[in-house]
């Protein structure tokens, strides 16, 4: 804070150098007043202390001490504020702060304390000035995108005199229940921001919202409500398209169908059986086999092969599970599901990060 104040002072002094129309103390006091309006008590304090060191005229001293008192009040230093008021009263016992009391709620009280200490009587009330009509202007971007990570809508409220401006935002469905409120006490142009996050950090849902602002001055004069109807909506996210569903042709059969496809195998089995029976005849030496009966062992084996083939043929007509294909299909389905899950996650993330669009639907 000190560094910032020093920077303000440095910039102010540098800027004031070429300006010969005002004294340095007056310029510093003017800058301090701006800082007070901006509620920057520390910066105003630094500027005013600097102003009082510039050999100010009595008038400049009066103004600097008065503003210094307000700066001290903003810094929550009532004792110092009272001393500043005392210094101001010693310069001019008839000094009044009526037009400045809106700047701080304790100003009147502390000022009266200072007046009591200094012993100056309460001066007669001045002739009331002509009443200034309080005006309030609200600026909201007509169409803007805000980042989803740190969403906030800039709003500018501007009043022509010192006033207390209350700005609220409520759902259009329940305009009497504000979701967010901001209060500014100063004159001029103030920039405020509506954070679009709820207390739990979640972004306010899409929908219509009503912005209302009203300024009230110390005389109780209030402006009409300034209203804007805002539409909050997520911008379109850049999402991925889901792949088409896997066609049936992508899957391998998980069981052999109930068809007669084993018929060729049955024929092969019969051929093998026949070959076993005929082997001694085909390959045997005719002389050696002469007089011998056919080999019963060959027939036995042949019969066994034939019987097994028939059994295989019959059992082969039943559908048979193919575990390798079942596993392959399962992996195919799992991979497809993993891909879809990843897309769902990526799309959800993209939607969450999509910027938020705020448009003013209606301006009175």
């Amino acid at each position: 804070m000190k560094a910032r104040s020093a920077m303000v002072l440095g910039v102010t002094l540098a800027m004031s150098a070429p300006c010969a129309a005002q004294s340095p103390a007056q310029r510093l006091a003017d800058q301090a007043r701006v800082q007070i309006d901006e509620l920057n008590g520390d910066s105003a304090y630094v500027l005013l202390v600097a102003a009082l060191r510039q050999n100010p005229t009595p008038g400049e001293r009066l103004r600097s001490f008065t503003l210094l008192a307000f700066a001290e009040l903003m810094r929550s230093n009532q004792a110092a504020a009272r001393q500043a008021f005392e210094q101001a009263l010693r310069v001019d016992a008839a000094v009044r702060i009526d037009t400045l009391t809106e700047l701080h709620s304790d100003a009147k009280l502390v000022f009266e304390q200072a007046r009591t200490i200094v012993g100056t009587p309460l001066p007669a009330s001045p002739v009331p000035e002509a009443r200034v009509v309080l005006l309030l202007t609200v600026f909201v971007p007509a169409d803007t995108l805000v980042l989803a990570d740190d969403p906030w809508l800039p709003i500018i409220v501007q009043s022509n005199t010192v006033s207390r401006t209350v700005t609220t935002i409520a759902s259009a469905a329940a305009p009497a229940r504000p979701l967010w409120t901001d209060t500014q006490s100063a004159a001029g142009r103030r920039r405020i921001a509506w954070p679009l996050r709820q207390a739990d950090g979640a972004v306010w849902p899409d929908g219509l919202y009503v912005l209302r602002a009203q300024a009230t001055d110390s005389n109780g004069q209030a402006t009409p409500f300034e209203e804007r109807l805002l539409r909050v909506a997520r911008a379109r996210a850049d999402t991925q398209v889901h792949p088409p569903l896997l066609p049936a042709s992508a899957f391998a059969p998980e069981a052999l169908p109930r068809t007669g496809r084993t018929m060729p195998k049955l024929i092969v089995g019969a051929a093998v059986a026949a070959l076993a029976a005929a082997t001694p005849t085909i390959l045997g030496n005719a002389d050696l086999n002469a007089g011998l009966a056919n080999d019963p062992t060959a027939y036995a084996v042949s019969g066994g092969v034939a019987l097994a083939s028939v059994v295989g043929f019959v059992s082969g007509r039943r559908p048979q599970r193919l575990p390798q294909n079942v596993q392959k299909n399962r992996e195919l389905r799992d991979n497809d599901q993993r891909l879809r899950d990843a897309i769902v996650r990526a799309n959800a993330e993209a939607r969450a990060k999509a910027p938020i669009r705020i448009t003013v639907e209606r301006t009175p």
Binding site: A276, N285, L288, D295, T297, V301, S309, G312
Partner: protein, 218 residues
């Protein structure tokens, strides 16, 4: 002629061979109830016996290498002209697999028969065709295994103009799993040429084989 047949088989294997990612390992044990028939100098002699053996094979892609060993005996005849003999068979096969159910390759085999008189060793070199067609969807496959030995000789003895073997049967794989049972008919024929004053001799071995098979892989 013999070399042409062998060459044709090997050439067919190379032509039909396709790169297959399959690899497997298998082992089996078998018993062979054998009947031996010999016709020599106008007489015919029959002997019988029991042989036991086993083989193992490994398949890598379209290449399959297998070994087989068996031993057993043949009972002698009552006239003592053909005494009891003990036999031993060892072979190695190298196959190309152009199809998963077809193996074409070469086989080298040695047979040794030991009697009280002495030991005779046969040396057989040739080609082998092995077909294992599926006979149903999952559990049953046929077996047709034919070996033809163009080069077949008795060590230090006569040559064999014709030497061949056929094994025909089927293998049942229990529940489609790695364990199988094989039943086959085995037939071997060896024609010995005459040599000098020794007349030609014909020999046949035939019988049923029953075995258990264990196979892992595809």
């Amino acid at each position: 002629m013999k070399q042409r047949v062998t060459g044709l088989i090997v050439a067919a294997a190379l032509l039909l061979a396709r790169d297959a990612a399959s690899q497997s390992i298998e082992a089996s044990a078998m018993t062979f109830t054998v009947q031996s028939q010999v016709r020599f100098a106008g007489t015919r002699v029959e002997q019988s016996g029991q042989w036991m053996g086993g083989d193992g094979a490994i398949r890598l892609g379209f290449l399959r290498v297998g070994m087989f060993a068996a031993l057993g005996s043949l009972n002698g005849t009552a006239d003592a002209l053909h005494p009891d003999s003990k036999g031993r068979v060892t072979s190695i096969t190298v196959h190309m697999l152009p199809r998963s159910w077809m193996a074409l390759g070469a086989v080298a085999e040695a047979k040794a028969f030991q009697t009280d008189v002495g030991t005779t060793v046969w040396r057989l070199l040739g080609a082998n065709v092995r077909l294992t067609p599926a006979l149903d969807t999952r559990t049953l496959e046929g077996l047709v295994d034919v070996s033809y030995w163009p080069s077949a000789t008795v060590v230090g003895g006569e040559a064999m103009p014709l030497a061949l073997r056929a094994v025909v049967g089927a293998t049942y794989r229990i529940a489609g799993g790695p364990l199988g049972i094989r039943l086959a008919y085995r037939f071997e024929r060896f024609d010995f040429e005459s040599r000098g004053s020794v007349p030609a001799r014909l020999e046949q071995f035939r019988g049923a084989t029953l075995g258990a098979l264990l196979r892992f892989g595809r």
